[in-house]
């Protein structure tokens, strides 16, 4: 459970290896449909069920990891 894990979710959903912890999801071609798939993966792997608003406020792996409270581990 880490920024690495969320970065990996971004990579799988966006189908690109070019994701860094600070990469913006939308700048990498992400859209609303793909964002829902990031959030379903986050829920499956880490538990918290986040909203679209949460995602818009935290559209990078590190920000999203902080939001789901897993950045410390």
């Amino acid at each position: 459970m880490s920024v690495d894990g969320v970065t990996d979710i971004f990579r799988r959903v966006l189908e690109t290896a070019e994701v860094a912890p600070g990469s913006d999801f939308f700048a990498l071609g992400g859209d609303s449909l793909l964002a829902t798939r990031v959030l379903s993966a986050v829920a499956r792997e880490y538990g918290p069920e986040l909203s679209f608003e949460d995602f818009l406020l935290a559209p990078t792996p590190e920000a999203l990891a902080a939001r789901i409270g897993c950045s410390a581990s």
Binding site: G29, L33, L56
Partner: protein, 444 residues
């Protein structure tokens, strides 16, 4: 030896005109029979203001639609990006209208994500070039998308959004399509994300001045080889050739390309009869009615809105800003799809207008009365019988799929419904026309 070949093409849509153009370029003597008094099939332009056109039918294309792009370039046309900047409006599940950034609906994002995960799993498993050979094809072809949703979508937000999504993607009521057809359609069009997206997806661009110009320009080059208002009644084959009959007479040819939707191909009197029909009892019409509301300008943009909306109450289940590039007016296009399309199409014109104008007014505040209003009912269009494309219900892919492109002696099949690539789209139509040309070149 194509130099002496005579061919008839039935249908002057994109597939038929692509085929006719290709055959003519090889020196064949071609006659195109078109039932309507216009070419274009499921592309059609409406002039909403002098020199400003909108698409009453097929409209969008993306970078992967390589054949459309080549045709656009060959014909001296240009594309223009679809406009999506701004916030969206949503009226979902009894809640009032809500404004949201981008295209995020005010629904449970995780529930939608789980739904898209399931759809992606189905889509990824399909054999796109031969969906009937997909693992578990028989089981997937036995149930409707509606039955699948009842079983697999448990969250109310997913159940609410699923039919809207399917309506947008393929103009289908979930009860009309098999799970196999749904998965195939999504895969054929490039997958969930590509088919859903504007920028970077299948709705990235429109054709400046309207998609109908593709067929108009192809037909202009073919000249008097295209015969309008000439529905083909009969196609009779014998050992030496084919007689194609219209109300006005007949022509004798070596081969025929039938480039019309499956139900219309079956309506022709074929002799001898093909061993299999093109459409079955569970083949439904694509359910799309397109509504254009014309305003003095795209007034919603001034309020930071994109014109995009998604609504669970009809008639307009989604709207999009289709204002012509030429400027002058603002056009809001409303999509009425699925079961809603049948209900809306059955209403008197005055009621259609009142309902659509009132809904647009609720979605986009401060809109004046529209200066123009157009309804294009594809569901009941005699010579299309639905749009975007025929919908294959339970059992149809297993029954019809293996013979999708198999010629009936000298009769070859084209049309977007015969293309496993980009099925239902302009791209599929053009690819099918090119394939038919290749078949005739190889045979005659």
């Amino acid at each position: 030896m194509l130099g002496v070949m005579r061919a008839a093409v039935v249908g002057a849509g994109l597939a038929g005109l692509t085929a006719a153009t290709g055959l003519a370029a090889q020196g064949a003597e071609v006659t195109v029979f078109e039932a309507r008094d216009r070419v274009g099939g499921r592309t059609r332009g409406i002039e909403v203001a002098p020199g400003s056109w909108v698409d009453a039918g097929a409209a969008y294309l993306g970078d992967r639609h390589t054949e459309v792009h080549s045709l656009v370039a060959e014909l001296g046309l240009k594309t223009t990006p679809a406009t999506t900047a701004g916030a969206s409006r949503f009226t979902l599940g009894g809640a009032g209208g809500r404004t949201r950034p981008g295209r995020f609906p005010p629904l449970d994002a995780v529930a939608l994500g789980r739904m898209f995960d399931l759809l992606d799993e189905l889509t990824a498993a399909v054999r796109p070039e031969a969906p009937w050979l997909t693992p578990d094809a028989a089981a997937l072809d036995a149930v409707t998308a509606g039955q699948w949703a009842d079983r697999h979508l448990t969250h109310p937000d997913a159940r609410l959004f699923f039919p809207l999504f399917l309506g947008e993607m393929m103009a289908a009521d979930p009860a009309d399509v098999s799970v196999l057809h749904m998965a195939f359609y999504l895969r054929s069009g490039g997958g969930l994300r590509y088919l859903n997206a504007f920028e970077g997806g299948a709705q990235q661009d429109r054709i400046a001045g309207g998609a109908h110009q593709l067929c108009e320009r192809l037909a202009a080059e073919l000249g008097d080889r295209v015969r309008l208002s000439s529905p083909v009644r009969a196609i009779h084959q014998d050992e030496a050739g084919v007689t194609v009959r219209t109300a006005d007479g007949s022509v004798r040819v070596d081969a025929v390309v039938v480039a019309v939707p499956p139900a219309l191909a079956d309506a022709v009197d074929h002799r001898p009869s093909p061993s299999h029909r093109r459409a079955g009892e569970r083949t439904a019409r694509g359910c799309a009615v397109k509504v254009h509301l014309v305003y003095p300008a795209p007034l919603w943009r001034a309020e930071g809105l994109s014109g995009w909306s998604v609504n669970s109450e009809g008639p307009l289940l989604s709207t999009v800003d289709d204002s012509p590039d030429a400027g002058g007016v603002g056009v809001l296009t409303g999509f009425v799809t699925g079961g809603e399309a049948h209900r809306f199409a059955a209403r008197p014109a005055a009621e259609q207008r009142a309902l659509a104008v009132a809904q647009a007014g609720r979605l986009f505040p401060h809109l004046p009365e529209p200066i123009g209003f157009h309804v294009t009912d594809w569901v009941n269009e005699e010579y299309s019988k639905g749009c975007y494309a025929a919908l294959l219900g339970p059992g149809e892919w297993l029954r019809h799929g293996p013979r999708l492109t198999t010629p009936h002696r000298r009769v070859h099949w084209a049309g977007t419904e015969t293309s496993t690539e980009y099925f239902g789209l302009m791209e599929g139509a053009i690819r099918s026309g090119r394939r038919a040309v290749a078949e005739l070149l190889a045979t005659y």
